[in-house]
């Protein structure tokens, strides 16, 4: 018999909800069968922790005396530029922002020691950061220069707002050229020297709800160690890609825009990261609860790594040239075993998404729900699914004359 989210929430409030992680549910379903498991289990928790470049935070730092207009001026936090095209005391800091004086790739490969993601980690860790502002001055905002220490707790608002997180599946990166390359999938050694991947597979939120039946706009989630919400589909949301019989996409597909109060987060789950030769980013921890409304929802959560397929893409030629060639397909079971086979060669694999931390997040969210500290929400609108016709368009350049 189908359950509703209200019924599940009643059980959570009474401390009676049966909660399993997306890993634990696999064996449970194998033992009990889908029908019984769907009756017994109320919530399945998922988790993921990995570098997610489309991340950042909005801040309001309050007004100085005399007042200064940040909007339209230049704002830096620890020398990292923030976007200030907003009202007087608001700005947005993106995870990939770099100080102007960072040498970038002029000495190749650049090291990208400190960027926006690191500033966010420092703030969340409670550290003071240096706020510097250059403003143009107006009658109502006369001050033109500001140099001060600020910390998260002094700010009015600090909201993590990530326009593209929690990718539903991702490419496996390899290098078929004869030179080392440095990419957002890490250093790739020549002649298929290594392969990197970045998904928590069977623990990953959207791989456990492949058609977005329960994860939608308004879904309350674990975000960076605190509480957040899904507020939209993510940018590049691409639900219409090739899918398996289990509806699980074989290619990078859905994405989420997520938001949450940075002040409630923890630097254990929000970490600045540097990819040599590529840039800075932020590793984000996300956990999403899936209410077991019926057997179909339950079956989807029991997906295992051996049933999730990812495309192997060459990052020396195919990816940079936006060619659609795929060298092969592998499962997350193969990827997590430590080697995949390609062109008769055994290739060592390494991840960027931490399965260890994904598991920790799923377990933490499970404990929050079991202890009635986390109540589920009903989404207010659904995300575009595989039948929506929504797909990812390339940019067709149009010459200027």
């Amino acid at each position: 018999m189908p359950k509703t989210i209200q019924e599940i929430n009643e059980k959570i409030k009474k401390g009676e909800a049966v909660v399993l992680t997306a890993e634990e549910i696999i064996d449970f379903v194998a033992e009990e069968g889908v029908k019984k498991a769907a009756q017994k289990v109320d919530v399945v928790t998922t988790g993921t922790f990995g570098p997610m470049c489309s991340s950042g935070a909005f801040f309001n730092v309050g007004h100085t005396r005399p007042r200064i207009k940040l909007g339209g001026g230049k704002v830096h936090l620890n020398d990292v530029p923030a976007y200030a095209g907003l009202a007087a005391a608001d700005f947005y800091l993106g995870a990939t922002a770099l100080p102007e004086e960072d040498p970038r790739n002029s000495v190749f490969p650049g090291r990208f020691e400190y960027g926006g993601g690191n500033v966010i980690e420092d703030l969340v860790a409670g550290k003071d950061v240096r706020l510097s502002v250059q403003a143009y001055g107006t009658d109502c905002y006369p001050k033109k220069r500001l140099e001060t220490w600020v910390s998260l707790k002094e700010m009015n608002e600090a909201v993590l707002f990530n326009p593209r997180n929690a990718y539903q599946n991702y490419n496996v990166a390899v290098n078929i050229s004869d030179k080392v390359i440095y990419t957002y999938m890490g250093m790739l050694l020549p002649n298929l020297g290594n392969a990197t991947y970045s998904s928590a597979g069977q623990l990953s939120p959207l791989l456990n709800d492949p058609e977005y039946r329960t994860i939608g706009i308004g879904t309350r989630i674990f975000l960076g160690g605190g509480v957040g919400y899904v507020v939209w589909n993510g940018t590049q949301h691409n639900p219409t890609v090739l899918r398996g019989e289990n509806h699980v996409p074989y290619r990078p597909a859905g994405t989420l825009t997520v938001l949450g109060d940075l002040k409630g987060m923890n630097s254990h789950w929000l970490r600045g990261a540097s990819f040599i030769g590529y840039g800075c980013t932020l590793a984000v921890g996300i956990g999403i609860p899936i209410p077991i409304l019926d057997e179909e929802v339950l079956r989807a959560t029991s997906v295992k790594d051996s049933e999730i397929v990812a495309p192997v893409v060459d990052y020396s030629q195919a990816y940079p040239q936006r060619e659609s060639d795929i060298l092969s397909e592998v499962t997350y079971a193969q990827l997590r075993s430590g080697t995949i086979e390609l062109r008769g060669k055994k290739i060592p694999t390494g991840g960027f998404s931490s399965y260890f931390k994904a598991r920790e997040i799923a377990l933490l969210l499970k404990s929050w729900i079991k202890e009635s500290k986390f109540i589920l929400t009903e989404s207010v609108a659904t995300l575009p699914d595989s039948k929506s016709g929504v797909n990812l368009k390339p940019l067709q350049e149009r010459p200027l004359q």
């Binding site: 890490g186 250093m187 970490r271 390494g350």
Partner: protein
């Protein structure tokens, strides 16, 4: 048989000397060169594994020091910072010597110092600066 992994730094006046030959010949040591490079300052750096009798190893090291070669034990130079490590496993895929493996049950990395050849690939790979090698 004893084993020592050493970082040898040669001043430029010693670069073209047959030092390794003497180690093998005069001290009866088995010598395995793990890495070699000449730095821009024209210093030579060799990472070697020496195998041989304990006393001969000691004498061999003395011989090197006597010539003006800087001799440093290597294993001390690779450090993993557990608190910065996210257990992403990226480093394990580039470690050729088998020093970094993954406990597949826990999905945590395992580092075996004595297998490390200080190639630095893991340092380049790690996005969280959780491994450092200091020369």
């Amino acid at each position: 048989m004893a084993k020592r992994k050493l970082l040898l730094t040669f001043p430029n006046n010693l670069i073209d000397q047959p030092i390794t030959y003497h180690l093998v010949k005069d001290y009866d040591l088995e010598l395995n060169i793990l890495r070699a490079r000449v730095t821009p300052k024209e210093e030579g750096r060799l990472i070697v594994e020496l195998k041989g009798k304990k006393e001969k190893l000691k004498l061999g090291e003395e011989f090197l020091k006597g010539l003006g070669v800087k001799v440093e034990p290597l294993a001390l130079d690779v450090a993993f910072f557990e608190d910065r490590c996210t257990q992403c496993t990226a480093c394990s895929g580039v470690c050729r010597s088998g020093a970094i493996t993954v406990d597949r049950k826990k999905m945590k990395i395992v580092f075996e110092k004595d297998k490390c050849i200080a190639c630095e690939l893991c340092v380049t790979m790690c996005p969280f600066r959780a491994v450092e090698i200091t020369f």
